[in-house]
Symmetry: none
Subunit: 232 residues, 2 copies
């Protein structure tokens, strides 16, 4: 079973959704048959490489939202994140464009370390105030992930993996995805947003049944017991 | 050929279904290639460990059924059970939660004695008025089955096999099973309920053919006769 998750780094619901999905997957009986692929998406491709202000400044200045409203939004999301064990620090978040980070996620995928890369980027962005757009940070992350330094270096000296990132954007558009996180199971079932673990679990069950249907042998007279008692 | 049977202990149709399935299996030409696995299911996970009343009290009080209706149901099921050689004694049935019994069935499976454990539990519950939830009964059953006493003892001092039982519940859910007995052949064919031996036999045949199709050797020149005559 293949699960593709379109997601950005600078996306508070993406990290929360990741945790909730992981909770459902951990309980899924066929979890060993599940392959998860992170696909790239950018909520705000126009984000500057460098922005001196805070996330609150950015959202209020550039997006025209009232600072008070942004603060309340941060508080609400941080509380829900905490429910998943994530310590969001919006006061420390560094506004940065995620394009190169997405290229690094693709490089990590080529070495079987995609989930680790995604996890670190989300945590470092939301919990640790790291500048996920900076060359220094991405170089250090590549090292932590055990990626080859020359391959990481190529992200800055060439366009490597840029087409893969853009291909993900195009596929998202083709699938009608206009927000993230967005979960696609076997290119057949779609879930938008940070759903509850119960909803993810139900979707996994449905997809599994769909891919492995039991051929019900005609059972018109099958006497059985169910939650409401025994048929007589 | 692998046949998994989801089933509870406190499930009158499960014992009847077991007999009918066994009748079909005994006549199945490839019976030596069949492996049967009993999988755990609980119709009523909320059943108390101990309940002082009768099964009739339980069903009428807790499930809100009219005592007269329950009596008639008992009589009907007991008559059908008798047709399979089973002497149900609903007047003697001890209401008990089957969770620990399911763990014992898993322990017995680890020693190749799963069917014997399942058979004894069903018989003792429906025919002999045993309390299949009690430590005393389960300890004695373990001894009768030739299981190691310390391993049986672990069922009461640890959580051993509890995860296996819950895994069976989860798999049932993932397969869309909402009542028992439920028979699954090679994870492909499903039969719900205590079907007739003839239906079980047909399902066994169908599954065998499905798993062992004839590979047709290319026969462009094969002269043969068909409904319209003989090719020349």
């Amino acid at each position: 079973m293949e699960i593709e998750i379109w997601s950005d780094v600078a996306c508070p619901w993406c990290y929360i959704g990741k945790r909730r999905f992981e909770a459902a997957l951990a309980e899924f009986p066929h979890r060993d048959s599940v392959e998860v692929k992170w696909r790239s998406y950018q909520l705000d491709p126009g984000l500057p490489e460098h922005y001196e202000g805070t996330e609150l400044d950015y959202l209020s200045t550039r997006k025209g939202l009232a600072p008070q409203q942004v603060s309340e939004m941060f508080e609400h999301v941080a509380t829900l994140a905490l429910g998943e064990g994530l310590e969001y620090r919006f006061d420390k978040v560094v506004v940065a464009n995620s394009f190169t980070a997405h290229r690094l996620i693709h490089l990590a995928a080529a070495h079987g370390k995609q989930d680790a890369a995604k996890e670190r980027l989300l945590s470092d962005h939301f919990e640790h105030g790291k500048d996920i757009g900076s060359r220094g940070y991405l170089t250090a992350l590549g090292q932590d992930l055990g990626l080859d330094a020359p391959e990481v270096e190529e992200l800055f000296s060439t366009d490597k993996y840029a087409d893969d990132v853009r291909f993900d954007f195009e596929e998202a558009r083709a699938l009608g995805i206009s927000g993230v996180p967005f979960f696609v199971i076997d290119r057949k079932f779609g879930l938008s947003g940070a759903q509850s673990p119960e909803t993810f679990a139900a979707a996994l069950d449905q997809a599994w049944q769909d891919a492995h249907p039991l051929v019900l042998v005609d059972a018109a007279d099958g006497q059985a017991c169910g939650p409401d008692g025994c048929a007589v």
